[in-house]
């Protein structure tokens, strides 16, 4: 048994084979994306394309996978290091780029599934538009702030997009690790559902 098979021994073997052929792009490696990337790598997703342009700050550490020693490093490089330390067989490619409406089209053929994990509402809308234009399945999040829990969370389907969150909380309610990670887990689970149904 190779190491990947050993890691994935508690998952369905037929699904593990399917996961190996899947490719997922994650836009943003903050509170949502850093956890989604790690969860999907651990689950055995074959190919991950990770996008961010930011560096790690102290204020990230309450909800992102990074450590104090990594403050000042690029999120892309640090996220790849965390994933490779956890599951060395993962095929991870990092893109240190700020995605805009002008350049996002260049990255819409990389992967079969796209994950929106940005902070700003306008960036979430930009990724929705790009996925709609290119016919790509999208998993997104909206409303991950504050302390409202499971009772507030919803799933919404819009075209090929699935959106998770409470859909209304604003950042001035605070960003707390448990709430953000809960939404990240819903996004990662949404990706697994899409791969399972492919």
């Amino acid at each position: 048994m190779d190491f990947r098979d050993a890691v994935l021994a508690r998952q369905d073997p037929a699904f593990n084979d399917k996961l190996k052929t899947a490719s997922v792009a994650i836009f943003g490696l903050g509170g949502l994306g850093s956890h989604i990337a790690m969860m999907l790598a651990r689950a055995g997703v074959g190919s991950l394309h990770l996008f961010d342009y930011d560096t790690i700050e102290a204020s990230n550490l309450n909800r992102q996978i990074y450590t104090a020693a990594e403050i000042g490093q690029k999120k892309t490089a640090a996220c790849v290091e965390h994933i490779e330390a956890a599951v060395p067989y993962a095929q991870v490619t990092a893109y240190d780029v700020r995605l805009t409406a002008a350049n996002i089209a260049a990255y819409m053929d990389l992967a079969g599934i796209y994950v929106e994990a940005f902070d700003r509402a306008q960036d979430k809308a930009m990724v929705f538009d790009a996925c709609q234009q290119h016919g790509k399945p999208l998993v997104s999040a909206s409303g991950v702030s504050g302390l409202a829990g499971l009772e507030a969370l919803e799933e919404k389907r819009l075209g090929q997009a699935t959106i998770y969150g409470d859909f209304h909380s604003k950042m001035d309610e605070g960003l707390y690790g448990p709430k953000v990670v809960l939404c990240a887990a819903l996004e990662a689970l949404g990706v697994l559902h899409i791969i399972h149904d492919m």
Binding site: A121, L158, H168
Partner: protein
């Protein structure tokens, strides 16, 4: 009469989706809009004329992540 997010609204003359969104205080840059259960692309908001009796569903993205 049209309906936006389950709320009926008087609708005296044909308007673009963009005009309706702005009149209802939605930011067209931050929403996803369905008219009669079909998604309308953001680039078409200004030219998409909403028919009388339409049901519009507007989803608004909020920040945080």
């Amino acid at each position: 009469m049209i309906t936006i997010n389950d709320t009926p609204i008087d609708y005296p003359q044909p308007k673009s989706l963009q005009d309706i969104l702005l009149a209802q205080a939605f930011d067209p840059a931050l929403v996803v809009a369905e008219v009669n259960a079909s998604l309308v692309k953001r680039e078409d908001y200004e030219t998409f004329m909403v028919p009388d009796g339409a049901t519009i569903e507007v989803f608004t993205f909020v920040g945080g992540g």
